[in-house]
């Protein structure tokens, strides 16, 4: 599989992590309409190229962080701010898979 560069534990096998999906701005909870919430929940860019995504190091430090990954080659790097996650992203954990 691939090595995910955890900013706290170093490169570890992807099977230690839960993939939380692409980063997407969360709507303002005071003003968002149901349609905006549904867009936020369901619609994905699913780009074939560089994406920004969130990982949860389930079998490691237990922290959330962000990476940039090329979805065609799986080249992966921590975001320039050191993988700092937005709190909102950490809470939602959107994304389908993660059976491990």
């Amino acid at each position: 599989m691939i090595l995910v560069p955890c900013p706290h534990c170093g490169p570890r096998n992807a099977s230690e992590f839960r993939w939380c999906g692409e980063v997407k701005p969360r709507p303002d909870s005071n003003r968002a309409t149901p349609e905006q919430w549904r867009d936020y929940l369901y619609l994905k860019s699913n780009a074939a190229g560089w994406i920004t995504e969130t990982w949860y190091h389930r079998e490691g430090c237990g922290r959330y962080f962000r990476t940039e990954r090329h979805t065609l080659t799986n080249k992966i790097r921590v975001t320039v701010d050191g993988g700092k996650p937005e709190p909102a992203v950490a809470e939602t954990g959107a994304g389908a898979s993660g059976r491990r």
């Binding site: 599989m1 096998n13 992807a14 099977s15 992590f17 839960r18 993939w19 999906g21 692409e22 149901p34 349609e35 549904r38 867009d39 929940l41 369901y42 619609l43 994905k44 860019s45 699913n46 780009a47 074939a48 995504e53 979805t71 065609l72 080659t73 799986n74 994304g95 389908a96 898979s97 993660g98 059976r99 491990r100």
Partner: protein, 440 residues
Amino acid sequence: MGVGKLWRGISPGDGRNDAGRLPRLRGRYSAWSLFRHGLTGEDWPLVWRSHELKPSYDVVIIGAGVHGLAVAYYLARNHGIRDVAVLDRGYLGGGNSGRNTAIVRSNYITPEGVRFYNRSVKLYEQLAAELNFNVMFSQLGHLTLAHTDSSLRTMRWRAEVNKLEGVRSEVIDPREIKRLVPYLDVSPNVRYPILGALYHVPGGIIRHDAVNWGYARGVDAQGVQIHQKTEVTGIDVEEGRVAAVRTSRGRIATRCVLNCTAGWSSVVAAMAGVTLPIVTYPLQAAVTEPVRYFLGAVVVSGTLHVYVSQTDRGELVFGASVDPFASYSTRGSLEFTEELAGQILELMPSIAKVRLVRQWAGLCDMTPDFSPVMGVTPVEGFHVDVGWGTYGFKAGPVSGEAMAQLVASGRTPELIAPFSLSRFSQGQLVGEKGAASVGH
């Protein structure tokens, strides 16, 4: 096995084939034609031709897999629409239509899903006769094992929904399972004892390449053009309506475009400015060396994330759940084979000495509710037949038939109305998570 001959039609745009010696394509396969060719030794006619790209078509179908070809086939056969181009970036049936594990079944959990796939099974049953092409459909039965009380409950639920829709499914006990598949370990002394199974009688396996080739032959015989190695690079939308498709071989003016591109559907939809509720995950599969026929049915275990069938050649074909993160890479991983081996040996310890010879991956366009997305989009003339995730091949004929009806009539057929793109904005999801695949 004649693959070289099938593929002689692949070179795009040499034009020679059109004018040349190929009109004999329409000859039917029969015992007589086999006898005649055996005597004369002459070449078999090509199964499909290649063409020059025309500047315009009534309908452009993106993706020459089973879905794209089936839509083209039923457009021509049922509705007389023949000015159609089926485009593919690579070669015909080279995407998921040639990478899936070829299981056909209809034992879903929602009435919408059961009705839909049951129609597909019925079409597959007639397909060989209809296409005059042996698609090798073996309805040897399909077992979904239950290892926990909760999954046994789900099996009962599925069986009842199936029966109400007239589909033959029933819950059977371990003794009966042992009778159907003697090589399964049904003893209680394992980590995940088998408590029962959903036995789906009409389920089975099919030769997926033959389905693609058969449809391609039928499509070509009706005058529809298949264009391989023709990559779509853009879709022109004017005033909210499709105007043209730009390809690596030139621009095609058209008012109607169908996106049948499986894993790549988000990328193609984005060209028309449509965002889909889809995330693309690789799904890996593997195959063993051929062994003598011993596996009486397709065996699936959701708890162990594995399914297995035996092909007519004797190979065991395995599949599992999707990879744990989204990607367009089709590279296999060691984790997959390790986990697969552990889980399949839990079920069938006796195959420990059989060697795996190959593994590969396909790209699954997963939706949030594990149901497909079929029908119209906010862009007029741009239709989608996507979101098939891990279960697209078994739906090829029925979605082709329904999408053809939609294109021809402009109205969404009732059978596919529950699967519209607008269900996500309306909150009307069709939850198939419990029955769509393993390991979710």
